[in-house]
């Protein structure tokens, strides 16, 4: 069978071209170790600078926990806040130099500057039992909203402060607010947050090798021999693509194993991760074939290929969430602009498997979307490649 012969030949060539093979297989796993080196196994500890201006007046009789000034107790509460595994959530430092503290926030040496006002204890002491307004006293958060860690730290601190104020004032709210974290996110380390992105990165990398594998036949002129033979374009590209998918799955598995080795916890099945990865690889390979249609040699691929590569990396949510641009809705599900990119669904599917332990049936939409998009992209890739490199001129 011609398909199998091309498959075998492409595999042999790939193995013999070991530098590209190593790059493909080892780049994402290498990043796993680099990130692990940066972040280690620790959960994220947020840096908080406190300027405690509280004039430590004696609290009024009748307020709870009245043997210590309120500012000091608040600081202790923050310091004592821990993750379920016992790791401190905040790394707290106190300062009196506001300007130096703000500079540290701007330099991202810490995430939140908490300013406790002079009247903090007094305000709490004069508040009525129902927690009515003391008036004119405010706790201030200072932070950089472009720093994603500030958003998270401020949210955590806000919850702690609300609880603290309720407790000090003896307020019992008619409706309690309870926070539950999806999946096992609460105990995720910062390193673990980056792993899904690296898994998708391992898959996206084959865009280049798929394009190079296809276009090098044109570059070396061997495509003329294939054009003269009985080989059909679909057979040729199908075999080349299958090899890329195998390589991609191998890279994905290797990346995942490396991550697990250094402590990454997979909530779902590794097999499901590989299923998502294999389907995603087909779609990326199809984009690689489309790229190859616009290139004449490997050098072209390394330049022109950067356009689809970065579009995928930035617009599919691999690196950071993209704003939703609604296109239309199907069966109550909103279809966004980024949904036309298969990796957007790969990210979503991997997130569900890795963090929430989702099974394949729970990934119906994502897998369906990847399959449909892959078929469309593959058809476009075959058509474009044939038109550019394999048809009669």
């Amino acid at each position: 069978m011609r398909f199998l012969s091309v498959l075998r030949k492409t595999l042999v060539e790939t193995v013999r071209d070991w530098k590209v093979l190593l790059l493909l297989l080892l780049l994402a796993p290498a990043f796993i170790f680099v990130l692990y080196g940066f972040y280690g196994r620790d959960v994220t500890t947020y840096g908080v600078i406190v300027r405690n201006g509280d004039r430590e007046v004696e609290p009024a009789a009748g307020t709870a926990g009245a043997d210590e000034p309120a500012g000091r107790r608040l600081i202790r509460t923050i310091v004592d806040t821990k993750y379920p595994d016992g790791t401190a959530m905040f790394r707290l430092t106190e300062t009196n130099d506001l300007e130096a503290a703000k500079k540290k926030i701007r330099d991202r040496d810490a995430q939140v500057l908490l300013i406790i006002p002079e009247t903090f204890s007094k305000a709490l002491g004069t508040a009525d039992a129902q927690g009515g307004p003391a008036g004119g006293t405010a706790l201030t958060f200072y932070g950089d909203v472009t720093n994603a860690k500030y958003i998270v730290a401020a949210a955590f601190l806000n919850a702690i402060l609300s609880g603290f104020l309720d407790e000090v004032q003896g307020v019992r709210r008619p409706v309690a607010i309870r926070e539950e974290m999806a999946g096992n996110m609460a105990s995720r380390t910062e390193f673990e947050f980056y792993v899904p992105g690296l898994l998708v990165f391992a898959v996206i990398m084959i865009l280049f090798t798929a394009a190079i594998a296809a276009v090098k036949e044109a570059d070396k002129g061997t495509i003329r021999r294939l054009q003269m033979s009985k080989l059909r374009t679909a057979e040729f590209l199908g075999a080349v693509s299958l090899v890329q998918v195998l390589l991609s799955v191998a890279a994905l598995l290797l990346t995942l194993l490396c991550a697990i080795t250094v402590g990454y916890r997979v909530a779902g099945s590794v097999v499901n991760v590989l299923v998502v990865g294999a389907l995603s690889s087909f779609s990326i390979t199809a984009i690689g074939l489309m790229t190859a249609a616009f290139c004449r040699n490997a050098g072209d691929v390394m330049t022109i290929g950067n356009f689809p590569f970065f579009i995928i990396m930035f617009c599919s949510g691999v690196m950071f969430p993209m704003p939703a641009v609604r296109l239309f809705a199907i069966g109550g599900r909103i279809i966004q602009l980024t949904d036309v990119l298969p990796p957007a669904h790969s990210v979503s599917a991997l997130n569900k498997v890795l963090n929430y332990g989702a099974g394949l049936t729970e990934l119906r939409f994502e897998l369906g979307a990847i399959i449909v998009l892959t078929i469309l992209y593959f058809a476009a890739g075959v058509w474009l490649f044939h038109r550019r490199h394999m048809r009669l001129r």
Partner: protein, 325 residues
């Protein structure tokens, strides 16, 4: 219709080319080319670089769509299934550039090409080994193509066109870049192949075309100038040998003045720079008269020789230019 079609009968024709034309923008690469290539002959396409040989070959192979005209590949008389199918399957093409899979061994790529034509794995391997043997590459069968010398790669380039046993073999500049030893090997190989197949050879080297081709088509600027056997072509520019005189530089005016008298001694006089060639029935007999004239006109001569006519003389006769100009 050109001279090459005169003696053909329908049964003996392997390829018919009718009014083939190809334009690239404002350039007409092949202009109304008409040919009939006979079954079993070695047919030479001779012309300078850029004459349109490769474009014509690509259209004959089906790799390039003509703007006008058509190519008819006649099935072989043995009625083989292969020949009756897509014309491209009956042709083996050895491209001008070396087109090999660098990371495959010699034998692997021959097997692979065989498989691309649905030749069984064992058969493809057997054919590959036999072909490697014939072109002196048997010892290199397990070497990666990228480790072969340029000459060996070119030999591999040739046999890759043969593994599916095509009825017609097209060799586009097969000897370009070959060392003398490989040239001899390839020449013998082409002669052997020609016993069984129709061979079309493009070259700008008239010696090779003359040595190998039974008939030669001379093409220039996309147009067929003439097509016949090398002997007949040489006969068209006059009988006898060529008396070739190379003059010292800087005698343009004197040479110009002497030309009318020099022409009186020969059928065909060609001037290319400082070189003047006369086609003479009896060069030895003409030589004393020419030598006397040179003395009278006080023309300084660098070299004088009497040689046989070549296809280059034919080309110069028809175009006024050399093949390498």
């Amino acid at each position: 219709m050109n001279a090459g079609t005169k003696e053909c009968t329908a049964d003996g024709i392997a390829i018919e080319v009718r009014g083939l034309t190809k334009r690239f923008g404002s350039i007409t690469a092949v202009d109304n080319l008409c040919l009939e290539i006979r079954r079993g002959e070695v047919f030479g396409f001779l012309g300078p670089n850029g004459a349109g040989k490769t474009t014509a070959i690509n259209m004959i192979c089906g790799l390039l769509r003509p703007d006008a005209g058509r190519v008819v590949i006649h099935p072989s008389t043995d009625g083989s299934k292969e020949a009756a199918g897509d014309p491209r399957r009956t042709i083996g093409l050895c491209p001008q550039a070396i087109c090999v899979w660098e990371s495959l061994t010699c034998l692997e790529q021959l097997e692979f090409m065989g498989r691309m034509y649905d030749v069984g794995r064992r058969e493809a391997r057997a054919r590959g080994l036999a072909l490697l043997e014939t072109l002196g590459l048997a010892e290199k069968k397990n070497k990666l193509a990228k480790t072969l010398s340029g000459g060996m790669q070119r030999r591999l380039n040739i046999i890759l066109a043969l593994v599916h046993e095509p009825a017609i073999l097209i060799l586009d500049e097969p000897q370009a870049g070959l060392d003398p030893q490989s040239r001899v090997l390839v020449r013998e190989f082409i002669r052997n192949v020609a016993r069984l197949k129709t061979v079309i050879l493009t070259t700008h080297e008239m010696d090779e075309a003359e040595r190998l081709s039974e008939r030669v088509a001379i093409i220039d600027r996309g147009r067929l100038l003439v097509c016949d056997t090398p002997e007949n072509l040489k006969g068209r520019i006059g009988e006898g040998e060529v008396l070739e005189i190379t003059f010292a530089e800087g005698q343009g005016a004197q040479l110009e003045a002497a030309l009318p008298e020099l022409r009186a001694n020969a059928d065909n006089v060609q001037v290319k720079g400082e070189v003047v060639s006369f086609v003479c029935r009896d060069a030895a007999a003409v030589f004393p008269a020419v030598a006397g004239l040179l003395k009278v006109k006080d023309l300084r001569v660098v070299d004088i020789k009497i040689r046989q006519k070549t296809l280059e003389d034919v080309f110069i006769h028809y175009t006024g230019r050399g093949l390498r100009e």
